[in-house]
Point group: C2
Chain length 168, copies 2
DNA sequence: TTAAAGTTTCAAAAATTATTGAAAATTTAT
DNA sequence: ATAAATTTTCAATAATTTTTGAAACTTTAA
C-alpha cells in the first residue's frame, strides 16, 4: 500500500473508532491527521485535507485543545496559527483517560454514592435489588477509578510491565 | 430520597453514561430498569415504565440480548415473554468488554497491523512519523487486548486484588 | 381451521448531532 | 488610524440516529 492510501485508511479507521466511543468523527480524524504529520499544520491545510469547512475545523481544533491532545504553535514572522499533536501515545491515552474520568466517571460516581444512601425496607425485594445493584456498580466504578488514578501517574513501561506480569 | 425517585435517577444517569460511550440511551435505560428489577418484566411493562413504543422496546431488547446482557424467560402457562438482566456486575463488565473487544478493538488491530507493514523511505519524515505513530498505537492496543483477554477469564476478586495490589 | 394474543418489521417522522458559510470580531503590519 | 489577514461565532442547513406505529407475521389455544 502507498503511504498516501495508508494515511487515508488510518484517518478513516481512527474516525470510525472515535464515533463508536462517543467522540465526534471529525474530531478523531483531525487528531489522526495531526498525529501522522511531522509538521504542524494550519487550519487551511486541515480543511483542505479532510474536506471540512472553516467553522468546523476551528471548533474541532478548539475541542482538541480542550482535550489536551493538540497545541497551537506560532511560527516566527508568520501570521497564521499552526497546530500540532502530542505524538506520545502513552500521553494521549493518559490524557483521554484523565478527561473521561473527570467528565464521565466522576459524575456517575457522585450519583451512585447518593443513590447508595437511599433508605428503605430491607424486606422489600424492590429495595434489596436496587441497593445491591447500586452497591455493586459503585464498587466496580471505584476500582476503575483507582486504577485510572494510578495510570495517570504512571510511566508506560512500568504500568504495562506491572499489569502484564501479574497476568502471565 | 424515595426509592421511586432513586430508580428514575439511576435510569437517567445510566442512560446518559451510555450515550457518552456510544451506547444508545434507550438501550442503557432498559438495561438499567431490568438491572434493578427483582422480577423479569414484559415488553408492555418496559414500554410503560420508560414511555417508549413497542417497536423501540422490541428492537432494544433484541440488541440487549445480542450483547449478552439480558435473557428471555418463559413463564409456565403464560403466553407473554419476560426479560431479565444478569445482575452480576462483574459478568456485565466482562460481557461488555468482550463485545467491544470483538466489535471494535479487533477490527482496528487488524487495520493497524496492515498499516504497520506499509513500506517507504526511512529518510522521509512523512513516512517516519506515520510509521512511528502506527507502531506505537499498535503496541498500546496490543497491551489493552492482552489485559482484556485476562479480564475475560478472571474472577473479579482475583482481578482487582492483583491490579490494585500492584498499584498500592 | 380460526382467531386472539403476542412479536417483529420497517418506512416514515421526529429528534439529535454535526456542518456550513458568511458576518462579526480580532489581530497585526504599516 | 487603516486595512488586510486571520480567527471566531452562530443561525441555518444537512446528515445521522433514534423512535414511532401500524401492518405483517407468528404462535398458541380451543
Amino acid at each position: 500500500m502507498e503511504l498516501a492510501a495508508a494515511k487515508l485508511k488510518f484517518i478513516e479507521a481512527w474516525g470510525k473508532l472515535g464515533s463508536e466511543w462517543g467522540i465526534n468523527r471529525t474530531m478523531a480524524q483531525v487528531h489522526a491527521l495531526l498525529l501522522i504529520s511531522p509538521e504542524a499544520l494550519t487550519t487551511e491545510e486541515i480543511m483542505e485535507q479532510l474536506s471540512i469547512s472553516r467553522g468546523n475545523a476551528n471548533m474541532t481544533l478548539r475541542d482538541l485543545i480542550g482535550w489536551g491532545l493538540i497545541e497551537k504553535q506560532h511560527k516566527a514572522g508568520e501570521r497564521k496559527e499552526y497546530f500540532f499533536a502530542d505524538k506520545d501515545v502513552w500521553n494521549i491515552a493518559r490524557q483521554v483517560a484523565k478527561e473521561r474520568k473527570k467528565r464521565e466517571l466522576e459524575p456517575i460516581l457522585k450519583v451512585l454514592s447518593e443513590l447508595s444512601h437511599v433508605a428503605g425496607d430491607e424486606k422489600d425485594p424492590e429495595f434489596k435489588t436496587f441497593k445491591k445493584s447500586i452497591t455493586d456498580i459503585n464498587k466496580l466504578a471505584g476500582n476503575v477509578d483507582k486504577t485510572l488514578e494510578t495510570m495517570l501517574k504512571a510511566e508506560e513501561s512500568w504500568f504495562w510491565g506491572s499489569v502484564l506480569k501479574v497476568f502471565k
